[in-house]
Symmetry: C2
Subunit: 544 residues, 2 copies
């Protein structure tokens, strides 16, 4: 399976669109992100393991060089990927630190006399784990604590040679196969261990932190936390790529399940032909909302791609686009969860056929199940959303102490809220305007409530920030999803309105309405609790 995938990756990476994508990434050609996202989606539909492996090389390894390196690094490490002279991998996660990357323990100690970094794995917990392409790849983008004169400057990224062109490991490098997984059998995940591996000083990707020949550290970002965030922001495009892959998987699964439901017949009125199973009420109710969600995700993720392109084209650092960061992190979590739930329903709605590998749904399920974990665990992603939203908000009040910020945030919004709460009328339940208002209302109420709770815990009760945050985690995840739902519905709505073909527009409008109804319906208890609508209205939404 792996050999086959390797061949597929070689073949694919040799195709003109892929070679062009690499060249465009190197040159930052206009809209290159959007174009390569779509290439990634198509690739994943064809074969998920190939899509994921190409993603490791292009988005993760290539993206690290692109977003963390200098122009010289791009010329040296990114452009040669076009000719497939070598392939790369991305080594961030360690045994003891997956979500909490800041705590990684791999060390990169600067040796002044040799002008080299010494990459070392000090203990078992520091081993790099789950590293994709680690059994074949030649170079790794390794995250390690940069140590100068015995003190760490925090995690930085280094290019470490792993294997020569004949596939022989370099001295000091150990790669251990992690073997069997639930899916993605074509992707080789392994453990990497470094025993004092020496690399030239130039192999530090130094956009956000460099070491001069005399051993002096320099960074354009003074604050350590901000610097670290700037580096993590490099993951933004690859996170969005996961959303495109999850979407591709949903669309394929739905196509298979819906087509099957139109051909399979079971049960029917007495003495008459059995009916198509899509005509069974439950079957339609299970599949159609997923189709609406897949459409909604298509528009919102394209929107995110366009924003990313605009920012990159304007030369903006990714870290400065707080709301975009939040959107992409949230979309990654939302889309991958929707994909899991969608494929599960596709599997169940196709019965025994759906359990057979030849019909692809169960294979897709197993392959994409890890999407909720990799490139950032979904629950952690949801926290990123809220943190970014908060950071975006507080930027307006820079340098002010946290207390006043929080108080301010907690108080604001009151007026804005009041206007929309009462704008409700029972007859409008079926209109998109009503649904848009409802999801907007929910986001703002949850946001205000969260700030008030954290403010109370931190300021009044003097809890430390970690435990205050932790005790609000459920609230945070709700807010986070509410934010993503709101943006997604808005983008779906805008896309429908700008659809040029009237017949298509009418059809999309129906699905947009279904999507909005699904969002409000699944949270109708919350709306009822907040008296946003009456029980009667809620029942109307149900029957809708």
């Amino acid at each position: 399976m792996r050999t086959l995938t390797l061949q597929r990756v070689r073949f694919t990476m040799g195709l003109p669109p892929l070679k062009r994508a690499i060249q465009e990434q190197a040159e930052k050609t206009k809209n290159f992100v959007s174009r390569s996202l779509v290439v990634g989606e198509v690739l994943s539909v064809a074969d998920m393991a190939t899509g994921v492996k190409c993603g490791i090389i292009y988005w993760l390894f290539g993206g690290a060089v692109r977003n963390l390196g200098s122009p010289a690094h791009v010329t040296k490490w990114l452009q040669p990927l076009q000719e497939q002279k070598y392939t790369g991998m991305f080594a961030m996660t360690e045994r003891a630190h997956g979500s909490n990357v800041r705590g990684i323990q791999t060390e990169a100690t600067f040796d002044l006399s040799a002008q080299e970094f010494v990459i070392d794995t000090p203990c078992e917990n520091a081993e790099k784990m789950y590293i994709g392409n680690s059994m074949y790849g030649n170079y790794a983008a390794v995250f390690a604590q940069l140590i100068l004169n015995g003190t760490s400057q925090g995690p930085h990224c280094f290019i470490v040679p792993i294997r020569d062109e004949n596939g022989n490991l370099y001295p000091g490098v150990t790669a251990i196969d992690m073997m069997h997984k639930e899916g993605l059998h074509g992707v080789d995940n392994g453990i990497l261990r470094f025993d004092k591996v020496r690399i030239p000083r130039e192999n530090l990707l130094d956009k956000f932190g460099s070491v001069a020949p005399d051993g002096q550290y320099h960074s354009p970002i003074e604050d350590r936390g901000a610097r670290f965030n700037a580096m993590l922001a490099a993951l933004t495009p690859s996170r969005l790529a996961v959303t495109f892959q999850a979407m591709g998987s949903m669309k394929l699964g739905l196509t298979i399940a819906i087509r099957y439901s139109h051909s399979r017949r079971q049960f029917g009125p007495k003495a008459m032909e059995e009916v198509k199973i899509i005509e069974h009420q439950t079957q339609t109710l299970r599949l159609m909302p997923h189709l609406a969600t897949a459409l909604a995700l298509t528009f919102v993720s394209r929107y995110a791609g366009v924003l990313l392109d605009e920012d990159i084209f304007c030369g903006k650092e990714l870290v400065n686009s707080r709301s975009l960061q939040a959107l992409v992190a949230g979309l990654k979590a939302y889309s991958t969860w929707e994909n899991v739930s969608c494929l599960q329903d596709c599997r169940e709605c196709t019965g025994g056929m759906g359990y057979m590998m030849e019909n692809r749904i169960s294979g897709l399920k197993c392959d994409t199940d890890v999407f909720v974990t990799f490139e950032g665990d979904n629950v952690v992603m949801l926290q990123v959303v809220v943190r970014e939203l908060l950071a975006q908000y507080t930027r307006q009040y820079e340098k002010r102490p946290l207390s006043s910020l929080l108080r301010n945030w907690a108080e604001s919004g009151g007026d804005k809220l009041r206007t929309s709460v009462l704008a409700f009328n029972v007859d409008t339940v079926g209109s998109l305007a009503f649904l848009l208002k409802a999801v907007n209302f929910r986001e703002r109420v949850l946001q205000r409530g969260l700030v008030a709770r954290i403010y109370y815990k931190v300021m009044t009760k003097k809890e430390d920030f970690f435990s205050a945050w932790n005790s609000c985690l459920h609230h945070i995840t709700c807010l986070s999803l509410a934010h993503i739902h709101r943006v997604t519905l808005e983008q779906f709505f805008l896309a429908v309105n700008s659809c040029p073909d009237p017949a298509d527009r009418a059809l999309l409008q129906k699905f947009c309405l279904l999507y909005g109804t699904k969002l409000v319906f699944q949270e109708r208890a919350w709306y009822l609790e907040h008296k946003y609508f009456t029980p009667t209205a809620s029942m109307r939404i149900r029957s809708q």
Copy 2:
């Protein structure tokens, strides 16, 4: 994998508890069902494929002989399973008919002169599909239309020899390997085709329908529909066995995930050790309700096992226990869905580790995913529940026309309802009595509403029953689950109260409360719509 599973099955079936279980099934020893259900659960935890294959031999093949055959059949086909002289399979599902078994097309035509049945697959759609153990087994319990003088008497079950003891297929039998599935790789599922295979007249399992040497058909059940239902009732114990297997899988998954959450650390307060991930609010909120559900299922499924044992011990035909039928069908659907959702959370809560096969969760997921489909698709099972509930109710009014039955059912309950609706008090939200009342209320309201809707559609609007039923499918599934939830919570409550150890009882009580709260919380929108409690009370339940 299959060879290994075959060895495991041989080894397991040779163990004294399994041999005893077969002997007990043959003799209908007191409580034999409960005992073998537990054996099945343990076996599945050890290895799911082995558990499922033993289940095919013991519950499906053995159960068909036991519940559809005569004492002579039991002696001939069931008892020799102890010595492993041969193994069996169960061939009901066909390509075109899985859920709608009544429509199967395999034919068993009686040849009077030869005193034989001719088993034949007339077309591709009549091929037996997904048949477990079909690549190794010796005998199959085959469901086919019994044809006498050119007319069908409906589906009956026949023992058809498939292979001799050396594994060679008998003439006229074709077995095609169905190959790769999402999981259960150790179980061989295949397609069976019969080309005019002749079997002795005695191979008809004739408890509910026999053919005399002169070709006369005789059945103790006059009505064809009732006769068919009596045969399907033979599946009841094996359905309950699936619930035990799903429970075993949940318990194992939860044990792994909760233990891991107590050892893995990630994030924490500044400059302090990272905290255990179980201390992250979201982790606890995701895992603990599943644990409560696994406990609840344990008690309710044992209860169902005891009822089954009592009925069988009293010599009662399974088909006459309408409420038990409903309970078992519903539990099969409920437990297998809970298992899917539980394992998904276990998988996600254990991150990348959960995706590795060596940690078993993802393997369990793939193996048990088909549980929602086999032994009766879950959505169909939920309809069985409601049909059985309705049938149970209407038995009291036998021979009366449907109209009066429905009207009667729709009108009843009104008084009973009124007493409990207003029994609500905000302070009691945390008490089990309140929760029990709430789930009771929900079941009754849904039931009354459904009958009223169907009555209106069929009687007033003159819709045919199929489309009236189909347009209420969502309502039916809700009622069905509400029924199962109510019974489950009640059984959990009773079990807690009869727990002899005070410390255990206190702990179980907490989980019982958590389980009840989960049930009411997830349906709080419905309760709010029905003004069963106020928004304030709903928020209290949320914080609980």
